[in-house]
């Protein structure tokens, strides 16, 4: 691969960067090529010590993606957050297992929240269910109306937990972004 091919790949891969930033960066790599060849290195040797254009572009983009994401101040929808974590994870296999872990944990927590809401709703509806199908509802020693009351309490508690979880998962996500930022320098010899 020669200098022009290398630069061409960089241009293509970095098309997402703002125009000025891309120009600035490519200019810097061009200087690297020029000065290296003044020292008598061939293009092949220069490319070998620089590392592949794809790898270099990936490192630059990862940094850029994280910054863009961190700039989005509003709380994102959790589906989007999960997707973005996965995307970043794919881009950097080092953090992929971590991203999967975080995403799965958050997902599991939200699924169990749903289960709590559902059981609350069923408890509230139990007098009604009792009327339609008495065999489905066994009240034990408690009167039937108390089931509805317990159901309402359960839903209120779950709502409280839901709020905490929203705050918690946002914090977790920010922490993850931060750790990603510190861990994305990869040097191969």
């Amino acid at each position: 691969m020669n200098k022009n091919q290398y630069i061409e790949i960089l241009e293509k891969k970095l098309s997402k960067l703002p125009h000025d930033e891309r120009l600035d960066f490519i200019n810097e790599i061009q200087v690297h090529f020029n000065e290296s060849s003044k020292q008598g290195k061939t293009d092949t040797q220069i490319v070998e010590s620089l590392g592949s254009a794809k790898h270099l572009a990936r490192n630059i983009l990862l940094e850029y993606d994280i910054d863009q994401l961190a700039k989005e101040k509003k709380i994102l929808g959790y589906g989007t957050i999960g997707l973005k974590i996965l995307l970043i994870g794919f881009k950097n296999l080092l953090v992929f297992p971590l991203a999967i872990g975080i995403f799965a944990t958050v997902l599991a927590l939200y699924v169990s929240l749903f289960a709590f809401y559902l059981s609350g709703a069923l408890l509230i509806a139990s007098p009604l269910i009792h009327m339609i199908a008495p065999s489905l509802v066994s009240t034990g020693p408690l009167p039937l109306w108390s089931m509805s009351l317990i159901g309402m309490g359960l839903i209120l508690l779950t709502k409280k937990g839901h709020d905490y979880m929203n705050v918690g998962s946002t914090k977790l996500f920010r922490l993850f972004l931060k750790s990603l930022k510190h861990d994305n320098m990869v040097i191969s010899s």
Binding site: F25, V31, N34, S49, L50, G51, I60, S188
Partner: protein, 109 residues
């Protein structure tokens, strides 16, 4: 040299070089490769990160041939970061030396 070692200290190397002089990217690469082998491409993302973290500022300077060179200057924040990182490194390497010594191996040199 162990690549994990290098990964940890590359920040320190670049900060130390910029603490002495303003340099452009290729110059930094050269000053490091005088001492150890690195993937030269890793310096450029690192410099971008330093700039975003406000450890450095940059300015362009025309060169006789080819595109202008981008010089980096350490900011006050960068100097602080350098001082802290250097201290951490000193403490760290001293601990490791003592640990290895206490297990009966003398470090050479």
């Amino acid at each position: 040299m162990n690549t994990q070692f290098k990964k940890g200290v590359l920040d320190l190397c670049v900060l130390s070089i910029l603490d002495k002089d303003d340099c452009y990217g290729y110059e930094i690469v050269n000053r490091i490769t005088d001492f150890m082998e690195i993937s030269e491409g890793s310096i450029y993302p690192l410099l971008r990160r330093f700039k975003k973290d406000k450890f450095v500022t940059s300015y362009l300077k025309e060169s006789v041939e080819g595109p202008p060179r981008k010089y980096y200057t350490l900011t006050a924040e960068g100097k602080d970061a350098y001082k802290n990182l250097l201290q951490e490194w000193m403490d760290f390497q001293e601990s490791i030396q003592q640990l290895v010594k206490s297990n009966g191996k003398e470090l050479e040199g």
